[in-house]
Chain length 299, copies 2
DNA sequence: CTTTATGTTGCATACGTGTGCAATAATATG
DNA sequence: CATATTATTGCACACGTATGCAACATAAAG
């Protein structure tokens, strides 16, 4: 060991991988690390894997096709497992991973076609809560700002929200589209408020859009929040708590989700068959100042 | 090729690396991907490298020691090159990379002890401009909010700012410390304004702190910006342009920096000796609404 | 047809490490 | 001291691909 030290020897991980069949590397497919939610998720995963002497290979997959390309690329590099936090998972890619014995888990996403272990917030239930909260707050003309239409999170949140409204005796929400981005939110807000029937509450599929909506209402249209219009989001990114926004939103429990994902991975890597591959984490309604409160709060 | 296709054959990149001596993988050492500036930098690098069929291995290095550990780890995985966007680069680590023939470049950081190719904004010059701008705006009691004291960017910005003030005939700034974080900025602002001699302008070492300062002044202390106090930052992250903040700041030209870094890397990988290993990119003053304008603007 | 040039194919070797077996050395047991 | 047991050491082989050379087939030139 001493001689090795003096010679500056360090084991050649590539050669080790070749013979051992494992690279001690995890593949991470991300749609948008610049979205603070995913930035923090990335940070969480990096932190954990590094502590366990695992490397992380990142792949950016903003569009649907990218996911498959990225997964294929990482398979060639023999990652031990993959975490996909982007939409567009195809069954071919999943099959490829299966064949190579590489576990895949979906993070904050889901697909119906394949049975892939998944960790996500209970989007439907949380959005239902949000609907109930807004209706109890006295709102009746309610809008939903979609993120990317095809994304599972968006669909689930829309579904839950619609169901929640229905439970409270309301019609489905007015819909707008904001692309999960700040700019998208701003423009959606503009369109909504310029329309013939402007809403008195706007629920956005994520926080970033909600911030865009807020800025548009308050600073461009001079609309008072929450007196004239309530605005809510989904994620609870740090900025939602900043005093300029003070956004009422659904908190995704990042840490819990990450821990759950890691647990799932560990089980899969250990070869244990996971009987319930889908972990649903409860979202939590975070009440701040951007939405009118019901006169009597539900317990 | 057809048979390979049918059999689902894909080349084994680990074996290729072993024999070819190159992994087609770039190592990326990051201090804080959740800071929007670095999140976008990460995104930019990922985009480029993926287009060129290169993988990216990420390492999170929030503290000084992490950098060396991370670099050592990535060396064992035979990355072809490394980009360090975190402080704490030691000369031992650099020597290790040299010995292994792995080029290293510093991104938005610098060290004086070793001569390492570097890409960064001209922090000194930009901060000098900011000093001049604020003084011309009629401010005389000016504060500087430090990020991490040891970081080179912070030191350069403080130095440039101080020099700029001196050129305009002013004393060095009042100093506070904000840790490069929103919370840090908030608390620094509180301390500054509660002090015996509250400033009438605050220049922050980065945007995130400036947003914290803004929120504290406007929403907690009820101070009007820029009428009572001007606030400026550094980076020009997207949020700086959001209407709630409308932050006057120094723009770091991310894209140019990334391109420059990639150019440098290409040259180093091609074995071309780079005679001028330090690329300085000009910062640009972005005038928005958070700082009083001089009555006569300099050209 | 022979010679030369060009293209194709097969095969041995190497990359640096893990694994298992054989050979040897060290230790314990009668 | 002989035998059985345990530790240590050395060595061949394997992982999947790249490289270079030899052997061979094909095409072009005289």
């Amino acid at each position: 060991m001493q001689v090795a030290q003096q010679l500056g020897y360090a084991p050649h991980q590539v050669a080790r991988s070749l013979i051992s069949g494992r690279s001690d590397t995890i593949g991470l497919v991300l749609a948008s690390p610049s979205n603070p939610f995913y930035g923090l998720v990335l940070e969480g995963f990096l932190q954990h894997f590094q502590r366990h002497n695992l490397r992380v290979m990142c792949y950016l997959a903003p569009t649907l096709d990218d996911v498959e390309i990225g997964m294929r690329a990482m398979l060639q590099y023999k990652v031990d497992a993959m975490i996909v936090a982007a939409s567009g998972l195809t069954s071919e890619a999943v099959t490829d991973c299966r064949r190579n014995g590489v576990p895949v888990i979906l993070f904050n996403r889901s697909i119906s076609s394949e049975s892939v272990p998944t960790v996500q917030t209970d989007n439907v239930r949380s959005s239902k809560m949000m609907a109930e909260f807004l209706v109890r707050g006295g709102h009746s003309s309610i809008a939903y700002v979609n993120g990317l239409e095809m994304s599972s999170t968006n669909r689930d949140r829309l579904r839950g929200f619609t169901e929640g409204l229905a439970q409270m005796g309301l019609e489905p929400p007015i819909q707008e589209y904001g692309d999960f981005s700040y700019e998208g939110g701003r423009e959606a807000a503009k369109r909504l408020m310029m329309s013939a029937t402007p809403p008195d509450a706007i629920f956005c599929a994520n926080d970033v859009m909600a911030l865009g909506v807020l800025d548009c209402l308050k600073n461009e249209l001079g609309i008072s929040v929450p007196d004239d219009v309530s605005v809510t989001g989904f994620d609870d990114i740090p900025m939602a708590g900043w005093s300029s926004f003070n956004l009422t939103t659904v908190r995704q429990r990042r840490t819990q989700m990450i821990v759950a994902a890691i647990d799932l991975l560990d089980q899969l890597l250990a070869g244990e068959v996971v009987e319930a591959p889908t972990v649903l984490i409860e979202g939590r309604l975070i009440l701040r100042g951007s939405a009118r409160l019901p006169s009597s709060l539900p317990s």
